[in-house]
């Protein structure tokens, strides 16, 4: 019983931090731009397969490939904003359909270039082996990913609370029209927000790549985690996202270790839908990003 409790406690932290890292960018986009970025899952694919492409196919060094893949992710976010979001800003049904279409195009392109049999593997391991916390044994790479996810959240919080850019983004997230009145160039800030939001999923993807079997369709399950966490957190509120990440982490750990691991996602989906029905605004009202 104590062993299970220790496992649940440890993995609540691990899963929670991981989901926080996955959902961080999505929350920023939803909080600042007030749109639902259904193409978010493509970022995971571009980060992982972009690194592989630059490393193995183009012939760059591994570190340079990572840097270039981040540049590719930023370029993708910029283009998504300029070509899709800006165009369909007022036609929301078109916007959502176009964003999913872009995601599927990227997914199929990756599947065409690097199908699962290619065996894409990225050696981004920071900690080899396992770490023992009491009776619980945690893969070192997962623990490292969790710590880095928390550090990323702290960095972003500092950006939002201590910099002028962060202040402007919070202003936009509170009231876009009022921020326009005081002279905010929201077009430029949206691009900055899109690029800033694309970095956390790219970093998390590279960190989990050695322990999570990479395949061209990995974007959807990761995107599902981002949706579940952001929705429960209140869509675009970082405080809510932090709380929701650890709640979902706890649900996954508790269900996985005490009931059936296959029920983990199902349990969290049911909880989220129930919360949405009874408390549609989620845990924290999305009136501002922070």
């Amino acid at each position: 019983m104590l062993d299970v409790a220790a496992l649940i406690f440890s993995y609540t932290f691990i899963f929670g931090s991981l989901y926080l890292g996955i959902a961080l960018g999505f929350t920023i986009i939803t909080g600042v731009l007030r749109i639902f970025h259904l193409g978010y899952g493509a970022i995971f694919l571009i980060a992982a397969y972009g690194t592989w492409m630059f490393w193995k196919d183009v012939g760059f060094g591994f570190i340079e490939s990572i840097v270039l893949s981040f540049a590719l992710v930023a370029l993708f976010s910029f283009l998504i904003y300029q070509v899709v979001i800006k165009k369909f800003w007022e036609m929301e049904d078109y916007l959502l359909a176009a964003l999913i279409a872009v995601f599927i195009i990227i997914e199929e392109l990756v599947n065409y270039a690097y199908p699962e049999i290619v065996g894409v593997y990225l050696p981004t391991t920071i900690i080899e082996g396992s770490i023992s916390i009491g009776p619980a044994s945690i893969p070192g790479q997962l623990a490292a990913t969790s710590v880095i996810a928390i550090l990323m959240v702290i960095c972003y919080l500092l950006i939002f609370t201590k910099t002028k850019t962060g202040l402007i983004m919070r202003a936009i997230s509170q009231d876009i029209f009022a921020s326009q009145l005081v002279g905010v160039n929201f077009d430029r800030m949206f691009i900055v927000a899109m690029i800033l939001a694309s970095l956390p999923p790219a970093i998390i993807m590279l960190l989990i790549a050695p322990i999570w079997a990479l395949n061209p369709f990995i974007g959807w399950p990761l995107f599902t985690y981002a949706i579940v966490v952001s929705v429960l957190g209140g869509l675009g509120n970082l405080r809510g996202t932090i709380m929701a990440s650890y709640i979902i982490g706890f649900i996954h750990a508790a269900v996985g270790f005490s009931l059936d691991p296959r029920l983990m996602l199902l349990a969290s989906l049911v909880v989220v839908v129930a919360v949405l029905v009874f408390r549609p605004e989620g845990l924290a009202r999305a009136e501002t990003i922070w």
């Binding site: 639902f36 036609m91 959502l96 392109l109 065409y112």
Partner: protein, 345 residues
């Protein structure tokens, strides 16, 4: 035309001057498979079975898209989970026929009622959840069913599905079978279209339009918004589930994860969006366009077919802001165009 029956008077305005276009449309749809079979196969070199299957797929998209348009207008919400109800209908038909020996004639009402029942259970979300939250709940429903099919793979069969569902038609001749399937599916589409058209032109349809435009205004007019939303969501969910029934008895099996995929969702959404804002007839045109394009890209581009298909559809979103129906509407102006908004308060 005035009919006196059961002590009541029923009047129906018959205006033959408006019949030309529907008659042309119905004749075209009925003649299409025969034309394809006799002429197009020789020109394009595509097997008749593949081409006819593409037309049946178009009818399946239209079967889902038509009630979905009605649902969007009547609830004032955009659902991202129509494929959830397709899977509900498909699983109901497959499980009842496999485990209890139900015939397709019995599984049809069962699928409709199961879809409607689940729709009724979920219908409060059309009142409680607004804007993007409704989109999210409906987007998550297929994921829940997906997970459920893997968790209870002994019941739902996960990715192998439920085989052994009795076929709706089996004559032994593949081409004849598929031709009959086409006519069955087009009959279903035309029935749905007729009902949708009648509803949209009725007083009830007018109230649905007001709800779609502004719920506050609808309430101030004395429209029972909640009642209309619940009825619309329930019945249209049942109608969408019928498409799942057809799929199960057409393929002889039902594999939920195939139809619960986001790529199928996007085809449904593009059918409704490219059809035109809340345009029911446009849905038929876009369903046929998308299904044909899907077949052409599949034969011409092989593994890259999905990429090419979605790039073309994306370009169409850019160049057709009012969808296919907008092209027609430019010549035949229609006063009311439903506005589809997601971020509404």
């Amino acid at each position: 035309m005035i009919i006196h029956a059961f002590g009541r008077k029923y009047d129906w305005i018959i205006e033959p001057r408006y019949w030309r276009n529907p008659i042309i449309g119905v004749i075209t749809l009925l003649a299409l498979p025969l034309l394809m079979y006799f002429f197009a196969t020789g020109v394009f070199g595509i097997r008749p079975v593949a081409l006819l299957s593409a037309l049946i797929f178009a009818n399946i998209l239209a079967m889902i898209g038509t009630p979905l348009v009605l649902q969007i207008i009547g609830t004032g919400r955009v659902s991202f989970g129509p494929h959830f109800f397709v899977a509900v209908g498909g699983y109901t038909a497959a499980l009842l026929s496999k485990n209890y020996g139900f015939s397709p004639a019995l599984t049809l009402p069962a699928s409709f009622f199961m879809g409607a029942l689940i729709g009724l259970g979920l219908s409060p979300i059309t009142i409680i959840s607004r804007g993007i939250y409704f989109v999210l709940i409906t987007l998550l429903l297929p994921f829940i069913l997906w997970e459920l099919t893997y968790w209870r793979s002994d019941v739902f069969g996960a990715e192998t599905g439920i085989p052994g569902v009795p076929l709706l038609i089996f004559t032994g001749d593949v081409v004849l079978d598929i031709m009959i399937y086409y006519y069955v599916s087009i009959a279903m589409v035309l029935i749905l279209l007729f009902f949708t058209d009648r509803v949209m032109r009725s007083r009830y349809g007018f109230m649905m339009g007001v709800i779609n435009e502004d719920e506050e205004v609808a309430l101030s007019y004395g429209i029972d918004v909640a009642k209309i939303k619940v009825i619309t969501f329930t019945l249209t969910s049942g109608a969408i589930a019928v498409a799942g029934w057809f799929l199960a008895h057409y393929q002889g099996s039902f594999t939920g994860p195939v139809w619960l995929q986001p790529s199928f969702l996007i085809l449904i959404l593009l059918t409704t969006t490219l059809g035109g804002k809340g345009a029911v007839y446009g849905v038929i045109a876009s369903a046929y366009f998308i299904a044909t394009l899907r077949e052409v890209t599949r034969t011409q581009f092989g593994e890259m077919s999905v990429v090419v298909l979605f790039i073309i559809l994306l370009i169409l979103l850019y160049i057709l802001p009012e969808g296919f129906w907008g092209l027609y509407r430019k010549r035949r102006y229609r006063e009311y165009v439903p506005s589809i908004r997601i971020r509404r308060a």
